[in-house]
Structure formats: C-alpha cells, structure tokens
Amino acid sequence: MKGIIGKKVGMTSIFADGKYVGVTVIDVKGNTVTQVKTNDTDGYSAVQVGFDDKSEKAANNAEKGHAKKVNTAPKRKFVEFRNFDFEKAVGETIAADIFADGEKVTVVGTSKGKGFQGVVKRHGFSGVGMGSHGQHDRMRAPGSLGASSDPSRVWKGLRMAGRMGGNRIKTQNVKVVKVMADQSLILLGGSVPGAIGSYVVLEKTK
C-alpha cells in the first residue's frame, strides 16, 4: 500500500486527452515519515506520515518531542499506511510522484457538515404528494414510522431527521489526472469529499 496526505485546494477544469475534465487540486507538500513501525518492534509493518506544519508555539511538548526525533516541524495531521510499498526511513519525505498519471486512488475525507436535515435530504426519501401514510398535508415529512400495537415501538435504526454530514467518507477509484511533481500538486478527476482546506488521504486502490 502506498499513500499520501493532502489538503484540498479547490476545483478547476483542464483539457486532458482532448476532453474537458473537472479536477480537484490536492496540495501534498511536506509529507514526512515520522515513524516506521516494523514487525519486530510493533507487531505489524507500517509507515507513519505527518503532514501540514504547525508552529512550535502551537505544539505541546509531546508533539514537539515526536517531531524533534525526526528533525522536522510539528505536524497537524498524522496517518499510518500499512505495508508501505517503498522502503522509507524516518525523516524522509513522500512526494507527489509516488502516484503516476492515470492511476486509480482511494480518497478519504471528511464530508461537509450539513446541520440538522430532514429525511428527504438526509436519507433520500421521496416525500409523498398525497395526504396518507402518516404524511398529513406535508410534502417532506417522513410519514408513518411503522406498525401499531405490534411491535408497539419504533424499530431501532429507523431513518429519521438529524445531523447530516461531517462524516468520514471514502471514495474509491478516483483517477489521478495529472501529477505536478514540481509544485507538489495532484489533480484528481471529479470531486472529492470535504470542504476546501480540509485534509484528504490518498491511497492506492487495492
């Protein structure tokens, strides 16, 4: 498995292979290996990657110490990649060119928070035009919650209105349209979960 942490910069569109392609620009500058876990020491093999520098002032002593060991600035975001494809030592950087043009990646991000939403937006209920099935005269109400005296209660997990968004979302098979290695940018085809400025994790699709 190979992977990298990035920050969503925004979207634009470029001409690639004779077609307009909408792309999301991901900034991956400053990925540093902060710890290497091996079978002998930790029971499994992984590479811990830190991303996005924060100031010494903002970091606590534990974070400072962790960064000092690797001789780098304290980082805001850490991700562990199991069984990393490349041999990496502590302190080495991971650059955008671990991915090639046309490769497929899995993108993990935190979706935009939508606040308290009704069932139509949150669960894709179609709403009912007629005033039956518990709908009364409302177009977007959930309607009946279930049967009556048997079971005499509402089933667990019934889809209702509530907080929506702000979840960890994984999108698979996202195409790497272009890698701009010099600028540490990766252009992904289409949209990617999360707001601008939020962290995304790019992994090779299995």
Binding site: T12, S13, F15, Q183
Partner: protein, 120 residues
C-alpha cells in the same frame, strides 16, 4: 482566484489567443477535426448568439442557416481544437443573448453592422 488554482489553469489551459468578439458578431471558427490520425480544419461561419460562462470553461454559441435549417454550435472558448477565430462583421445588437434569432428567418434575422471609426 486562489493562486494555486491559477497556477494549474496557467499550466494546462492555453491563454486566450483569439480576437475579442461578442454577441451579434459574424465570425468564422476554424475547428480542428481528427479523423483517424489525420487532422483537418473545418470552418463554421455564423453569428454569435451568446457568450456563456467565465474562466476555463467559457463557451460561445454560433448560429447559421444551413440549407434553410438553423444550425447552432457551441464551442469552448479555450479549447485547443479551436484553431482560429476570425471576426468578419461586428454587429449592432442590444442584448447579450440573441435567442430571438431562433424565431426569425430571412430578412428579419439580419443583424445590422456596427459603424466604427476607422483609424487613418
């Protein structure tokens, strides 16, 4: 615009190399067409009836009457396939979108030419 997005645009999208034109203008668009591995240029001449969008995805629509049938074609302004745009006539119109041209034919669909000062 975000400087990084601008950098991406500048790297992959070509700058506007075409002359300025607007709705009502009569233009000729030279469009590159690839057939197999051969490339040839097709010309499309007509009146611009709208400019649409901004930035890298901006498009314009050209309308012409071909064999008595109105034909409209939408071109991306920054497409590398748009080889050249020649402005034949600058039209005098009062709207940004000339959709009314779709209901007109013959003499009524003519667009009068804008009189411009000629540099001596």
């Amino acid at each position: 615009m975000n400087p990084t997005i601008k950098l991406v645009n500048d790297t992959f999208n070509q700058p506007n190399k075409h002359p300025k034109f607007g709705p009502g203008d009569n233009i000729t668009v030279s469009y590159k067409i690839t057939e197999g591995n051969k490339e040839r240029i097709q010309e499309f001449r007509g009146d611009v009836i709208q400019l649409n969008g901004a930035g890298t995805t901006a498009t314009f629509t050209v309308r012409k009457i071909s064999n008595g049938v109105g034909v409209e074609r939408v071109f991306p302004l920054y497409s590398p396939f748009v080889d050249e745009i020649a402005v034949n006539k600058v039209g005098r119109v009062r709207r940004a979108k000339l959709y009314y041209q779709r209901d007109r034919k013959g003499k009524a669909s003519r667009i009068s030419e804008k009189r411009q000062a000629v540099a001596e």
